[in-house]
Subunit: 345 residues, 2 copies
């Protein structure tokens, strides 16, 4: 399971909590803070939990940063984390910061739940379909962006992508990683989800296998479609099957939810994901446009089987287009300057 569930001594309640911390993988400290927070909360969302009672922030400041760098970087990262927590309807009331060779950012999310607040990820049945709520390819996009400055790496992929496209793919990846899976968690209840997990370090296939192993019924997951940030499949091929993206082994950071849904509900789930974020926190994007809703895709089926998961031989690659660039929040700016795609709700 993505979170631990602890039965409490008080009236049928459970404490559900999770922790995650890692090293920065994008250059924008504000976005990195948002991503770290989205990544922590995602473990709750994967259980259909939409509320979080408290977050703690875990940080380390790099000893290699001078004082000016610290003062510029750390407050932005903390602001990003706090803004994402606020978007998730929660707040950060504690934590710890240490000095370390490397920067660390992460946190702890805790919630006290009633039994019907969460969905145990063990009830998939043959006939369900698999839905994915964010495109794959974040690791490829982040690495390709770093390779812009490394000629021997760049030479391997420059025939299939332009520098502008790499920049756009990187922005798209950041945007996706910083997006909360909260709407998906809410819709899991509405559309009677049978099980779910979030896609992170083990890639789509690794997490699909983990989820399959937890099922009570004799099921297998078969993935037919791979929604991937546009051009990342081409980069992966050009680089000699980089990270195993097309085999589903490429790591994702703060990836989407992989959800087992009754077949007749899945299309409506996807439609409602995209329509808006209304209904969760009462807020709708002001522009009603790009980034307001999230895309979700039916990517496979649940059939009878041996609690395993596989991708078919020639999966359909769904090229997910870039939505536009993210306006980075600069020091001293206020919330109104946040990018519309990840604005607070």
């Amino acid at each position: 399971m993505d979170s631990c569930v602890i039965p409490l001594r008080h009236g049928g309640l459970s404490l559900v909590q999770t922790t995650d911390f890692f090293y920065p993988l994008v250059e924008d400290p504000y976005m990195m803070g948002r991503i770290a927070c989205a990544n922590v909360l995602s473990d709750l969302y994967a259980m259909g939990i939409t509320e979080c009672d408290n977050m703690l922030m875990l940080l380390s400041v790099s000893q290699k940063m001078n004082e000016k760098e610290r003062e510029q970087v750390m407050p932005l990262m903390m602001k990003g984390f706090r803004d994402a927590a606020e978007e998730g309807g929660t707040s950060v009331t504690g934590g710890q910061t240490v000095i370390n060779p490397w920067i660390i950012v992460g946190g702890v999310a805790s919630v006290v739940c009633q039994p019907n607040d969460f969905i145990m990820p063990d009830s998939a049945v043959p006939g369900d379909v698999l839905v994915l709520t964010k495109p794959l390819g974040t690791q490829v996009a982040v690495n390709a962006h770093q390779w812009l400055d490394i000629p021997e790496k760049w030479n391997k992929i420059k025939l299939v992508i332009s520098k502008e496209e790499v920049e756009q793919a990187y922005q798209e990846a950041m945007l996706n990683m910083a997006t909360l899976n909260r709407t998906a968690a809410a819709l899991m209840h509405k559309f009677n989800a049978h099980a779910a997990t979030d896609i992170t370090g083990f890639g789509i296939i690794g997490h699909a296998r983990n989820l399959a192993q937890q099922q009570r019924n004799d099921v297998a997951f078969v993935i037919h479609n791979l929604p991937i940030i546009s051009k990342m499949a081409a980069i992966s091929k050009a680089g000699g099957n980089l990270f195993g993206l097309l085999q589903g082994t490429s790591s994702e950071t703060s990836g989407g939810l992989l959800i087992c849904l009754p077949r007749e509900q899945a299309a409506r789930f996807c439609a409602e994901m995209k329509s808006s974020r209304m209904g969760l926190s009462g807020a709708v994007g002001q522009d009603g446009g790009v980034g307001d809703g999230q895309q979700a895709w039916i990517i496979g089926i649940v059939e009878k089987g041996n609690r395993c998961a596989r991708i078919i031989d020639k999966p359909r690659i769904i090229e997910v287009p870039y939505r536009g660039s993210v306006v980075s929040v600069q020091e001293g700016s206020n919330n109104n300057a946040s990018p519309p795609e990840v604005q607070q709700t």
Copy 2:
């Protein structure tokens, strides 16, 4: 406050949680795990909370360790952490491990409480006395132990202490740091404590000041006595007031609780601390002897004042003797081989 307290949506309950992580400061991985766990739990104990619903472990493995070192060190550290959690009546059900230049060990402790389970640290009144439940001097002891191998450092202190005494002081410090403040937390309720905090990085005077500032009444804390691990005061003087131990600024790790108690209750509190650990978890040390109970000292008074704290000009130094050496748990040993002083209850 040492922990954050989050009111929940469920029947007057609160979520209380805290996190702490740091770098190893003793050489024994098993004891380091115990110390890290005791240190995390101490923030709950400082609020008079004796139960913990869940712990998460936060770890990093050093990239400088080879595989064999990792396999030897990390399981011992995790075992120490888990054993201390078990002694605290709780268990570790989650966490995360990353690779890092330095080893990190720490955790998160969470509990869902009713209002009378915890004591807000804000109700000291003039006439209270200050009680401390572990001796000071852990930083001096740990450093002196490192200086055994650094001639220019050792030369500064060798006139006041022998190598054997340094070893004993180090063992005593480890033992104290690995001791849970749980008994003290339980007795805070029994003897009507008005406020408490735990002594860690800011030293006794730093934490006394923090606690004074949180008081609702116009009070000041005056410290008359400093219980210090034997010979550590002498080392501090010989080294030119090392770490400011006698001024109360020397860092402690997993230090004792500093508790404001009604004057007429304090002596009984100290007596009961020392008698045994019976009554908390129903267990008494098998040998009934050394290390079974913990010492506590009345170290000062609460008077009318301006929410500040001070140590008097010439405080009485209480030399706290060594109790004997700690038998380190080696790889492959079982719980029965745990040192009696920190055995599971």
